[in-house]
C-alpha cells in the first residue's frame, strides 16, 4: 500500500469518528423521537401565548353578529380579519377592547379599485363612491347589503 494511503485512511477514519461524535452532541435533544423533527418544539410552541381565538370562539358570546355575518356576502371573512387578534378579549371582554375599524380606508384595503385584484373582490372607486360618509353609515359591516339608508 502506498504510504500516502497509510496516513490518509486512518486520518479520514478519525475525522469521520470525530464528526459522528460532534454530530451526536449537536443534534437537538428530542430530534427524531416521533419523526424527522424536534419533538420538544411542540411543547415550546404550545407555551407561546395565543393571539387569535377563531371565529367559533366569538360566536359563543356574539351570536347575533355571527348570524348576521353568516347571512351575507362577508360570510367568508373571519371576525378577527377586521377586529384584530382577539384571544385576550375572549378571556377578559370587559377590560380588553378590540378595535372597530370604521375608516373608509379600512374597507378600501379590500375594496378600492385595483386592476390586479381578483374579480370576486368587488371593487369601487373610493373617491367617487359616496365620498362624504363613512362606509358603515350605509353598509352594515357584518351584512353589507343591509343598507342603513
Amino acid at each position: 500500500m502506498p504510504p500516502q494511503l497509510k496516513t490518509l485512511i486512518p486520518l479520514f477514519g478519525a475525522f469521520i469518528v470525530l464528526f459522528l461524535i460532534a454530530r451526536h452532541f449537536l443534534v437537538p435533544v428530542s430530534f427524531g423521537e416521533l419523526g424527522h423533527y424536534r419533538f420538544n418544539s411542540i411543547a415550546e410552541n404550545k407555551e407561546k401565548a395565543m393571539n387569535y381565538a377563531g371565529k367559533d370562539a366569538c360566536a359563543d358570546c356574539h351570536d347575533d353578529k355571527a348570524a348576521q355575518l353568516k347571512s351575507d356576502v362577508h360570510s367568508g371573512l373571519s371576525c378577527e380579519t377586521c377586529h384584530g387578534p382577539g384571544q385576550a378579549h375572549t378571556e377578559n371582554p370587559e377590560t380588553v377592547k378590540l378595535n372597530k375599524p370604521d375608516q373608509r380606508s379600512f374597507c378600501g384595503n379590500c375594496h378600492s379599485m385595483n386592476a390586479s385584484r381578483p374579480k370576486f373582490m368587488v371593487q369601487i372607486e373610493l373617491k367617487e363612491h359616496n365620498p362624504d360618509k363613512k362606509c358603515i353609515e350605509c353598509h352594515n359591516p357584518h351584512q353589507p347589503w343591509q343598507l342603513k339608508e
Binding site: 504510504p3 500516502q4 494511503l5 496516513t7 449537536l26 443534534v27 427524531g32 385595483n114 385584484r117
Partner: protein, 399 residues
C-alpha cells in the same frame, strides 16, 4: 388599528398591484445572491484545473495550481454568506446535521464536506506533497513548522511514492469532476426544484447553473492569473492565456445557448405565469437582465472573444481584451445570479403584482457584509500563494 397591522397595511400600500402579505418583504437578499455566485466560482475554477489534468491540456499547465488554490480559497468562504444570512449561529447548523430526502437545503453540508475534504484538499495535498516535503527541509521558523505539519508525516520522496502521488491525484481528479458538477448542479437544483415559482422551476436550472459556473470560474482564473503575473512582474504565458480565453469562449457559447433555450421554451409555452414574467423582465429586471447580464456580461465578451479566434492582434491588445472580458463575464454572471434569486421573489405568486427590493448598506443582509465575503477569498488566496507558491514548484520541477 393594532400597530403591527398598521405597519403591514402601510407596506402593502407601497407595492404594485396585488400581492400576498408574506411576499411584501423579500427574504433572500444579496447574501443569497452571493452564495451560488461563490460556489459557482469554485466549481468553475476546479473544472478548469481538471481539464488540464484529465484531458492533459498541456498549455494550461501554468494555471493548474493557481486554479486549484483559487477554488480552495473561494470554497472556504462559500458557506459564509449562507450562515451570515441565517443568523442564529447556535442553531443554524442544525439543518445541516439532520439531512432528509425531502429537503434539498439540508444536504448542503455533506455535499460541501465531500467536495472540500475528499476532492479539493486531497488533490492539492497530493499535488504539492513532494514540494512540501522539500520546503519543510529548507525552511525554518513558523513557515517551516507549518510545512512539517502539512506533510502529515509522509516524507517519503522515492520515485515510487512520488508516482503514487500522481496516480492517486489523477484518480481524485476523475472523481472530482462529477463532484464539481454535483456541487454546482445541486445549487441550481435548490432553485430549479421550487415548483411553486415559475421563474425558477425548470429542469434546465442545474445545467444552466453549472455552465454559468464554469464560465465565471474560468473568467476568475484568467483574471487572477493576469493580476498575479503582473504583481510578480513576470512575463505572461500568452499560449496559456489564449487557450483559457478559447475555453471561456466555447463555454460561454454553450451557456448562452442553454439560457436562450430555457427562455425560448418559456416564451413558447406561455403558461399562465407568462404575463407576469414578461412584465418582470421588461420592468424591474430590465437593467440587470438585458443590459448587465446579456449585453455587458455575455454579448460583448462573446463577440470580442469570438473575433480573437479568427484574427489575432498584438499581444498587448489581446491582453487588454482578455482582462476586460474576464471582468465583464464576472460582472455578468453575478447579475445572472441576481436575476434568478432576486427576480424570483419580486413577483407575487398570485401573478398579479410586484414587491420591491432595496439593497441596504449596513446590517446583516447589507452591502458591507457582502463585500466582506467577496474580499475575504482574495486574502485567503494571497495566504495560500504565499504558503504554496505554484511558481516555485514549477522552477523546481523543470530544473
Amino acid at each position: 388599528m393594532e400597530p403591527q397591522y398598521q405597519h403591514l397595511y402601510e407596506m402593502l400600500s407601497q407595492v404594485r398591484g396585488f400581492i400576498y402579505p408574506n411576499e411584501v418583504d423579500l427574504q433572500w437578499g444579496l447574501l443569497i445572491v452571493l452564495y451560488p455566485y461563490i460556489t459557482g466560482l469554485v466549481a468553475g475554477a476546479f473544472i478548469l484545473a481538471s481539464l488540464e489534468r484529465v484531458f492533459n491540456v498541456k498549455v494550461l499547465k501554468p494555471t493548474y495550481q493557481l486554479a486549484l488554490l483559487t477554488a480552495l480559497a473561494f470554497l472556504l468562504v462559500a458557506t459564509m454568506p449562507l450562515v451570515s444570512h441565517l443568523g442564529h449561529p447556535f442553531r443554524a447548523y442544525e439543518i445541516l446535521m439532520t439531512p432528509h430526502s425531502t429537503s434539498a437545503m439540508a444536504i448542503f453540508g455533506f455535499v460541501y464536506l465531500w467536495y472540500l475534504m475528499v476532492v479539493l484538499l486531497l488533490e492539492i495535498w497530493l499535488d504539492y506533497r513532494r514540494d512540501i516535503v522539500i520546503w519543510s527541509q529548507q525552511t525554518t521558523g513558523f513557515k517551516g513548522r507549518l510545512y512539517k505539519i502539512l506533510t502529515l508525516g509522509v516524507k517519503d520522496l522515492s520515485p515510487r511514492t512520488v508516482r503514487w502521488d500522481d496516480k492517486i491525484g489523477y484518480f481524485i481528479t476523475v472523481v472530482g469532476i462529477p463532484s464539481a458538477f454535483l456541487l454546482h448542479g445541486y445549487v441550481g437544483f435548490i432553485f430549479g426544484s421550487v415548483k411553486a415559482n415559475p421563474w425558477w422551476s425548470t429542469v434546465l436550472m442545474p445545467v444552466i447553473f453549472l455552465f454559468s459556473a464554469m464560465v465565471s470560474g474560468i473568467a476568475l482564473v484568467l483574471f487572477i492569473y493576469m493580476v498575479v503575473t503582473w504583481f510578480r512582474r513576470q512575463k505572461i504565458d500568452m499560449a496559456a492565456l489564449d487557450s483559457i480565453a478559447k475555453f471561456l469562449f466555447y463555454i460561454l457559447i454553450l451557456d448562452f445557448t442553454l439560457e436562450g433555450l430555457d427562455q425560448i421554451h418559456r416564451i413558447y409555452e406561455a403558461e399562465e405565469s407568462f404575463e407576469i414574467l414578461s412584465l418582470l423582465v421588461h420592468g424591474p429586471l430590465f437593467l440587470t437582465l438585458f443590459i448587465f447580464q446579456i449585453l455587458l456580461g455575455t454579448l460583448i465578451p462573446l463577440i470580442s472573444l469570438g473575433i480573437l479566434q479568427l484574427y489575432k492582434p498584438k499581444e498587448l491588445t489581446r491582453r487588454i481584451i482578455y482582462f476586460s472580458c474576464s471582468l465583464l463575464v464576472l460582472f455578468g454572471i453575478f447579475f445572472m445570479r441576481w436575476n434568478v434569486v432576486i427576480g424570483g421573489q419580486l413577483f407575487s405568486k398570485s401573478f398579479y403584482g410586484f414587491t420591491d427590493y432595496k439593497l441596504r448598506l449596513a446590517g446583516s443582509e447589507g452591502l458591507l457584509w457582502a463585500l466582506v465575503w467577496v474580499i475575504l477569498p482574495f486574502l485567503i488566496l494571497g495566504f495560500l500563494l504565499w504558503l504554496l507558491p505554484p511558481w516555485k514548484k514549477l522552477e523546481e520541477s523543470t530544473s
